[in-house]
């Protein structure tokens, strides 16, 4: 049984490091692969040096049981790769190879992902020395060799105001055989900078892990600190965090629907949603003074309270903005020329979503009921449930429609929360983190599941801090969705995923 092989935790739960089973790497590999076959998924897979030994940790989540499982193994400079049997480990293993120069033997295609230097000693698995410059985006990619094929390289500098990333398409005319994505241009070394914390800077790093997911990552980070210090957060603070998180979701989904309309040249929705996104952001600013919610979520609660008058105002403005979004977005579903572009474009199957461990609206649009608010509820979501929005089509239409469903459900949730705000202090003082502990914090950001894992040392300081942004799982999904598509449809497929570059690059 799975329970015996793992340390089992609740979301935002904490345990002692000694409780984590340390097993032989072959047992580790089989245990993880079996657990994934039985319905768990990899939330995080990382290496951390513990007592001068390299330890590989697997953090799995089982949605049905609402439990998080951890297992570990001590490894040398190589170990048998999980990827051939468990594709969702692919990017994690490349990350491990890049960070610690540990080779996953049998990994089908070991490429760097962020193009930074190895954390430890001299040469990494690609023989890059510390003095070498590692040119980003230079990889040993797929090349289809034929006179009739052509390669189109896009980025890292794009025509729109977006983050840098490099895309390579292997095309036959307009037809894409394969597309490859190279990221890493935004790598800032946040995980390394968090080691030794928490301190004054920690929350700042959290809020800028991915700038458009400030609330999501800050909530995950604060939940982590509260789990490790066993702090209690008041019901009012939980409710306010939930409201802010859903406002972030609504604002971004509205912006995405507008951007999708813009990419196909459908003017009314592009113009309308672009403006309405700002109205939702202004509601967040109404709470904390910042449109992206910076400064709101703090360890122990939230930094800003809502007066009775502010609550009434927000409810009125939310209703008004929501009605406008409703009338604008409905144009999308009524216009045949829009549906002709959205439907059957960038299709991914449910099996692919499960195999690659995709998360968020992308997975839900593929028919996977995967939502951490429902699977691993914490805070306000333990009391109030938001129905999981799914679609079965797995195409751009599905991803757009899931966003619209979530806008509706999140609006209803915020309305309900604002009308029943519990009366309590908004912030409690946080204590010391428990030494030699491990905690996992999962939050459903607007892009999908955000997972933070932290290990503490003997003094209760972060020994290791691992961040997994939903984009980390989903970039591979975009690559797969583009196969056998038209190259001219790449922009709407890309927009329908709308993944974060800096959240991936960290």
């Amino acid at each position: 049984m799975i329970e015996h092989d793992f340390l089992s935790l609740n979301n935002a739960g904490c345990a002692g490091m000694a409780e984590i089973p340390v097993v032989d790497i072959h047992i580790f590999r089989n245990t993880v692969i079996n657990a994934v076959t039985e319905g768990s998924r990899i939330l995080s897979l990382f290496v951390c040096p513990v007592d001068r030994q390299m330890r590989l940790f697997a953090v799995l989540g089982h949605g049905g049981k609402s439990r998080i499982y951890i297992v570990s193994s001590i490894i040398g400079d190589a170990y048998p790769s999980l990827t051939p049997a468990c594709p969702q480990a692919e990017r994690f293993e490349r990350e491990i190879a890049e960070q610690w120069s540990i080779r996953p033997e049998g990994h089908p295609w070991l490429k760097p992902i962020r193009f930074h230097h190895f954390y430890g000693g001299p040469a990494d698995v690609w023989k890059h020395l510390p003095a070498d410059w590692i040119p980003p985006g230079v990889i040993d990619g797929i090349k289809v060799e034929s006179d009739e094929m052509h390669e189109v390289a896009v980025g890292p500098v794009h025509a729109g105001i977006i983050e840098p990333g490099h895309f390579r398409f292997q095309c036959h005319g307009e037809h894409i055989y394969h597309m490859e994505i190279c990221l890493g241009y935004q790598h800032r070394g946040i995980e390394q900078a968090l080691v030794g914390g928490p301190d004054q800077r920690t929350i700042g790093f959290m809020e800028t892990l991915a700038g458009d997911t400030s609330i999501g990552h800050a909530t995950a980070g604060c939940q982590m600190i509260e789990a490790l210090s066993a702090d209690n957060v008041s019901a009012r603070a939980y409710a306010l965090r939930g409201i802010a998180l859903e406002l972030e979701r609504i604002a971004n989904h509205t912006g995405d629907l507008g951007a999708l309309a813009g990419d196909i040249g459908y003017l009314p929705v592009a113009a309308g949603c672009g403006r309405l996104r700002g109205d939702f952001l202004n509601l967040t600013a109404e709470i904390c003074g910042n449109r992206f919610g910076r400064g709101l979520v703090r360890p122990g609660g939230v930094a800003f309270d809502l007066s009775h008058k502010a609550v009434t105002q927000i409810v009125v403005r939310l209703e008004k903005t929501f009605k406008q979004v409703q009338s604008t977005v409905s144009l999308l579903w009524e216009n045949p020329s829009v549906l002709a572009r959205f439907e059957e474009t960038g299709k991914i199957t449910k099996k692919l979503c499960l195999d690659l461990g995709l998360v968020g609206p992308v997975a839900r649009a593929g028919g996977v009921e995967r939502d951490s608010r429902f699977e691993f509820p914490t805070g306000v979501y333990r009391m109030a449930h938001i129905p999981v929005a799914t679609c079965h089509t797995g195409d751009v239409m599905g991803r757009a429609y899931v966003r619209w469903l979530e806008i509706q459900r999140s609006t209803a949730f915020i309305r309900q929360q604002l009308q029943n705000l519990p009366i309590a202090p908004i912030r409690t003082k946080t204590g010391q983190l428990s030494p030699n502990g491990i905690a996992v914090s999962v939050v459903e950001g607007w892009r999908g599941e955000i997972c933070h894992v932290a290990l503490t040392d003997g003094q209760g300081r972060f020994l290791h801090y691992k961040v997994v942004d939903p984009s980390f799982h989903n970039w591979m999904g975009l690559q797969m969705a583009m196969r056998d598509e038209q190259i001219s449809d790449f922009p709407i497929c890309n927009k329908s995923f709308n993944l974060s570059y800096c959240g991936h690059d960290l």
């Binding site: 040249g265 009314p268 001219s488």
Partner: protein, 308 residues
């Protein structure tokens, strides 16, 4: 034949040269108005052209004289075409039997140079745009030529000035199912040639989806001004092809005819394009050929009806 020469007028080409950029200004204003924005001033395209003319062009080291010749030949071809394009029943500066064939191939010449100038850069984006342009124009060219042939047959004249003189003075007396088909076919060609929705999106920043815009990405300064001005002229003269069919102005007073024609030339295509761009999304690129083949079929049907 001599009668055509005696009717020549300078006003169609003069109004094309001076008013064409205004057409873009009106379209952009209509689009902005429909989406609830205030929009740029109507004269913005002129300001932009003036700005570009004062800049210097940057040339990539990989390009040759072809890249520099592209904008010049493109503009030259369109200016020449403007000289044989009448404005309703006001004849063109130059007209001769069969000039509509020259008209179609002047457009093709301009396009050919734009395409090879794009290929000259060696960029994969421009190559994609060039391939799309070549493919789509191969389908729109027969539609245009056959549609004009049907008009020639209907009006019994084989110069553009002659055709449109008969059409306009007829005050819709010549309306026939064939002319309706011709109008639809030319309208589709109009949207394609001018890179408008549903074929192309002139406002997009997404290189991978562009057709026309991506081919001129490497041009700057006066070259870009030539290209943009050429595009405005092209839209103006192709708009004349359409308006000549549906605008039955024949007051008998020359200046009134001209004023009405100019107002209709500015507002007609602008309103049509503005409304289309507001009410529908772009077609998937794979579907564009179907639209163009449909235009070709309409032209063929119109010609068959006229040959009957």
């Amino acid at each position: 034949m001599m009668t055509y020469w005696s009717h020549q007028s300078i006003s169609p080409v003069i109004s094309a040269i001076f008013l064409a950029p205004l057409l873009f200004g009106v379209i952009n204003w209509i689009k902005a108005f429909l989406s609830g924005r205030r929009g740029a001033p109507w004269l913005q395209p002129y300001f932009d052209l003036w700005k570009l003319m004062r800049k210097s062009a940057v040339y990539s080291r990989t390009t040759t004289w072809i890249f520099r010749a592209g904008p010049l030949v493109g503009l030259g071809a369109i200016l020449t075409a403007a000289m044989i394009m009448p404005m309703g029943n006001i004849p063109a500066l130059v007209s001769f039997p069969g000039d509509f064939v020259l008209f179609a191939y002047l457009l093709a010449l301009g396009r050919f140079f734009t395409i090879i100038a794009a290929l000259d850069t060696g960029s994969s984006f421009q190559g994609m745009g060039a391939s799309r342009e070549a493919y789509f124009s191969a389908l729109s060219e027969p539609a245009l030529l056959l549609a004009l042939t049907a008009v020639a047959r209907r009006t019994g004249s084989n110069s553009l000035s002659g055709m449109y003189e008969v059409l306009s003075s007829g005050s819709w007396a010549l309306v026939s199912p064939a002319m309706v088909l011709v109008f639809i076919a030319i309208f589709i060609v109009f949207l394609t040639e001018n890179a408008r929705i549903p074929v192309d999106d002139p406002t997009t920043h997404l290189e991978l989806t562009m057709i026309h815009e991506v081919m001129v990405l490497d041009h700057g300064g006066p070259d870009l001004a030539f290209i943009n001005y050429g595009a405005a002229l092209k839209m103006w003269i192709l708009g004349q092809l359409l308006i000549g069919i549906v605008n039955p102005v024949h007051t008998g007073i020359m200046w009134l005819n001209q004023t009405i024609s100019i107002v209709v030339s500015l507002s007609g295509p602008a309103i049509a394009v503005g409304l289309i761009e507001f009410s529908m999304a772009r077609l998937r690129l794979k579907r564009v050929p179907q639209l163009l083949v449909a235009a070709g079929i309409f032209s063929v049907l119109a010609l068959i009806m006229e040959l009957r």
